[in-house]
Structures are given as structure tokens and as C-alpha cells.
């Protein structure tokens, strides 16, 4: 039986400091079809740098509606006073599957009270919270856009403060799995930035298999690379299946 794979870490749209492959949603959809990746949680790249994310989110959500593979992820900037109404509208109108945060791009730390409020609401709405640690290699950032990664200890602490909320840390380096391991069982990490010989075998030494999920980092990264991590690893098939999609099942993570 074909492996069921869900990509939890993908964006679409123009990212002004990087050339990207796959110039249309259609071409990206075809690439995912070629790779056998059946579900992709997609947010809007433009929403990261925009003054408010709702407009670019709505444009993407309407464009991607004709592609069943793509599931909408709402970018929330909780320093904006209207974040709660924006989130509720996205649930009502677009059927979002998750909320994505970019704390270091939007200029807040995870110990702020409004982050706690957001996590409580997401738990009530059965929406996992995706926290984007980084979107590129800090060494390659241009002078005009130097943005540090989100401290992984702060993600771990957030998960402990909110045990009823599901969290996924997106794009951690292999070494950062150690501090994420100190978080609750409700905190998972994606594999997009794990880059070492035997990346998944090494990741398993740092974080239980039940807390690893598939993520590609597309459109910034080529999704083929994440797929090869599943293809080349020598973990038992049931562990590969767990990472590929099963760790996101309604039993273990909240959305259905």
C-alpha cells in the first residue's frame, strides 16, 4: 500500500529575496503528485512580510480551493488587535487546518500573554499551532532581512504551559531537537531542516518517533529532498508511516 504523506511545512507565493522553483500552484501540485505526497498544509508566503496577513491569505485560499491536495493554513500575527476575529473568520470561511506563527518575523516572544490567549483558542478550535523557527539559512540572509531563529527552548516551554494545544516546530536543525525534546508530548517537530547522514535515524535518537512529522519547507526548499529522507531511511515501516502522516491523525493531533 502506498505511503500516506502529509506535508506540514509549505508556503506558496513570492518570497522577494529568493528565486523559487514551481512558478504556478498547478506546477507545485504536479510536483507533489509526482512525489506521492497526498496532503499539503499550505500558507501564504506574502503574509509573513505583509502589514497584515489576511488579504494575502484570502487570495491564496481562494486560488488553492481547486486543488484538493492543498489544505489552508492561516498565518496569524498576534500583535495585531484583530487576530482573534481574523482567525475565527478563517475557520468559518476557509476550513483552515492549522495556524502558523512567525514570531521572529513579527517581533514578539512566545512568553507574551497574547500568545497564551491564542494557544487557548486554538485548543478550543482543534487547530494545531505551527511555529516557524526559520525560513532560510541565517548565513545566507541579506543585510536587509536578518532574522534570527525562534529559540527552541521557548517553544518547549510554551508547549508545557498549554498541554491541551498541539504544536509543531517547523524547520529545526538536528541539534535543536534536544531542546524541543524537553517540551510536552503535544510538541512535534518536522524534518525539513534535518541534514546529516541518516537524518531520521539521528532524529529518533533525540526525539521520539511519535513527535516527528513530515515537512518539506517548500516553496523555499525543493520538496523532493524531504521525500528522499523517507525513501532512504532504514527505520521500520511503521515508524516511517508514523512520521509521514500517522502522527497527525485525529487521535494524536487535533484537527480532523
Amino acid at each position: 500500500m502506498a505511503l500516506q504523506i502529509t506535508d506540514t511545512n509549505a508556503v506558496w507565493g513570492v518570497w522577494p529575496i529568493q528565486r523559487t522553483s514551481f512558478p504556478t500552484l498547478h506546477s507545485l501540485d504536479k510536483e507533489y503528485e509526482r512525489l506521492g505526497i497526498g496532503e499539503v498544509w499550505l500558507s501564504a508566503a506574502a503574509s509573513i512580510l505583509a502589514p497584515e496577513p489576511d488579504e494575502s491569505d484570502d487570495v491564496l485560499f481562494s486560488q488553492m480551493a481547486v486543488y484538493p491536495r492543498f489544505r489552508p493554513v492561516k498565518t496569524i500575527n498576534p500583535i495585531l488587535a484583530n487576530w482573534e476575529s481574523a482567525l475565527r473568520q478563517s475557520v468559518a470561511h476557509h476550513g483552515i487546518v492549522a495556524v502558523k506563527l512567525f514570531p521572529t518575523y513579527h517581533g514578539y516572544s512566545l512568553d507574551k500573554p497574547f500568545v497564551d490567549d491564542l494557544c487557548e483558542l486554538c485548543a478550543a478550535l482543534n487547530l494545531p499551532v505551527l511555529i516557524q523557527i526559520r525560513v532560510n539559512d541565517e548565513r545566507n540572509q541579506p543585510d536587509c532581512l536578518q532574522v534570527a531563529g525562534v529559540p527552541t527552548e521557548s517553544i518547549a516551554n510554551l508547549s508545557i504551559r498549554h498541554p491541551s494545544t498541539s504544536f509543531i516546530a517547523l524547520s529545526p536543525y538536528l541539534s535543536e531537537l534536544d531542546s524541543l525534546a524537553g517540551g510536552g508530548e503535544n510538541l512535534r517537530a518536522d524534518l525539513s531542516y534535518l541534514d546529516a547522514i541518516k537524518p531520521l535515524e539521528r532524529a529518533k535518537q533525540r526525539l521520539p518517533i511519535s513527535r516527528l512529522v513530515f515537512g518539506s519547507g517548500a516553496l523555499w526548499l525543493v520538496p523532493n529532498a524531504a521525500r528522499l529522507k523517507l525513501d532512504y531511511c532504514k527505520l521500520p515501516q511503521e515508524e516511517i508511516a508514523a512520521i509521514a502522516a500517522e502522527n497527525l491523525s485525529p487521535k494524536t493531533i487535533l484537527h480532523d
Binding site: 528565486r19 522553483s21 537524518p199 523532493n224 529532498a225 528522499l228 529522507k229
Partner: protein, 264 residues
């Protein structure tokens, strides 16, 4: 068939941190090569951080040579050198290595910026033995780097430095390492230097840069490099297999260009 021109053999066990023999190191590489269908790897040396002495360089190069000798159909070595060493030591180490059949290139890293005349003897030796020079290159932004990291980078070469080196020695074949570290700006820097190739290694498999390189340089000037075992074949081969290229360009990058450059 795939040729990887940028491989660092592992020299210690991950778990115990104890030293590996060349045979053990080769076995780790061969397992990964089998998974990724890599037919041949160019070995740059295990530890190539700045400030290596002649003795430590001997050890690095002997380790690479030993692996290549064990599996001559699967591995070839590149002679790592620190151009900051006395010129007679640079010359003698390059003669020692390049006179052996295992060595098919020279590897330069972070010791000396390649605009320096200290590289002249290296270039002349590479020309004498008719082998390419693979040079580290990166437009690295130091803002987020520790003091130790910045010190490590103080004599680094950037792509415009590689272009200068290539213009000083137009008959020398140069492989500029790290497509992604060099980026679009770096590719533009070396575009008018026909004696410079670029390898695909560097950082994560970011999309877009490889297609730009093919468009600007032509696929004939791009070589597959993984930076394994620092990085993985999953990500680095994924970059090439997952970029929208035509089959001919992909074959040039993965195999044909390296086969021509190294006369396989």
C-alpha cells in the same frame, strides 16, 4: 550513474566519538552511496578547518588516499593544503600527493583568501599535474555568528575572489564549491570565467538557484557535490532531482561534467 565531487569522509563514530579506520569510513560512505546510487565520490578530507599543520595535512590526505586505494572504482582523493604553510612545504605536499594515482584534484578551504599570491604555487602545481582546484566559496553573512565562527571565516574566499583567481590563472580548472552559499550573486561573479565550474553543495536544498545557474552558466559548468558527511544525500541529491531541469541538464550535472573534468 552519479559522481559526487564534494565529499568529506567521516573519521569518527557518531556515538562513541572514537576514531574510524579508513576502511570503516569507506563502509559508511558506501552504504550511503548505495542508497543514493552514487557511483563515485571525490574525497576532500575529513577535517579541513583553518590552521592545519603539515603533519595534520599529511594525516588528512593519507586518510583520503587510503580510502581511495581500498576502492579505486568508487573513490578518488583531493589533496588538501594550507597555503599559509612555508612554500617548500606546500610544494612538497602537493608533489607527494599529486604524484599518486589516487589524487585527482587540489582542495583549498578557509586558510588564505584566494586573491593572495600565496596561492600561485598551488595553481602552478595544479597546472603542472593537470588537475582542477576545488575552492571553498560562500557569501556568508556573519551577523548571527559567534566570535569563534567569525574568526574561522576571517580569511574566507567569496565568489568574486574566486573569479579573480580564475582570471589570474585562465588555464587552471577551478571548481567553486557551494552553489547555494555563493547564490545568484556568486554565479554572476564567475559567469564570464569559463575555467570555473560550480558544485551544487551548500546549505539546505533551496529551490530556484540551480535553475538560475543552468540558465546563466549552462549545465556544462555545474557539478554535483553533496558535502556529505557534513550533509546528507537526501537533501543534496534532492536539490538536483527535485529541481525542474531537462534530463540532459540533469545528466550533465550528476555525471557527465565530472566524468569529463576528471577523465573517468
Amino acid at each position: 550513474m552519479i559522481i559526487d565531487v564534494h565529499t568529506h569522509p567521516p573519521d569518527y563514530h557518531d556515538a562513541s566519538r572514537t576514531s574510524l579506520t579508513p576502511g570503516e569510513s569507506a563502509e559508511i560512505l558506501l552504504e550511503q552511496m548505495q542508497l543514493a546510487k552514487i557511483s563515485r565520490c571525490g574525497l576532500l578530507g575529513c577535517s579541513v578547518s583553518p590552521g592545519q599543520t603539515l603533519a595534520s595535512i599529511h594525516a588528512v590526505n593519507d586518510f583520503s588516499a587510503a580510502i581511495a586505494r581500498l576502492h579505486p572504482e568508487r573513490f578518488f582523493a583531493m589533496a588538501f593544503i594550507n597555503p599559509n604553510l612555508p612554500q617548500e612545504e606546500v610544494e612538497s605536499e602537493l608533489d607527494r600527493c599529486l604524484s599518486l594515482p589516487e589524487f585527482k584534484a587540489v582542495k583549498l578551504e578557509l586558510d588564505v583568501n584566494c586573491r593572495s599570491p600565496r596561492l600561485d604555487i598551488v595553481a602552478r602545481k595544479a597546472l603542472e599535474y593537470d588537475v582542477p582546484v576545488l575552492h571553498h566559496s560562500w557569501y556568508v553573512n556573519l551577523w548571527n555568528m559567534s566570535a569563534a565562527g567569525r574568526k574561522h571565516q576571517q580569511f574566507r574566499s567569496e565568489p568574486h575572489d574566486v573569479a579573480d583567481f580564475a582570471r589570474r590563472f585562465p588555464d587552471l580548472k577551478i571548481i567553486m564549491a557551494h552553489l547555494e552559499g555563493s547564490g545568484v550573486r556568486g554565479l554572476i561573479d564567475i559567469a564570464d570565467c569559463p575555467n570555473v565550474w560550480v558544485d551544487t553543495s551548500g546549505s539546505q536544498p533551496f529551490s530556484g538557484t540551480l535553475e538560475y545557474g543552468v540558465r546563466l552558466l549552462g549545465s556544462e559548468r555545474i557539478l554535483f557535490g553533496s558535502d556529505a558527511c557534513i550533509r546528507s544525500y537526501e537533501t543534496q541529491l534532492g536539490r538536483v532531482l527535485g529541481s525542474p531541469l531537462c534530463a540532459g541538464d540533469r545528466e550533465n550535472i550528476l555525471y557527465r561534467n565530472a566524468a569529463t573534468l576528471f577523465s573517468f
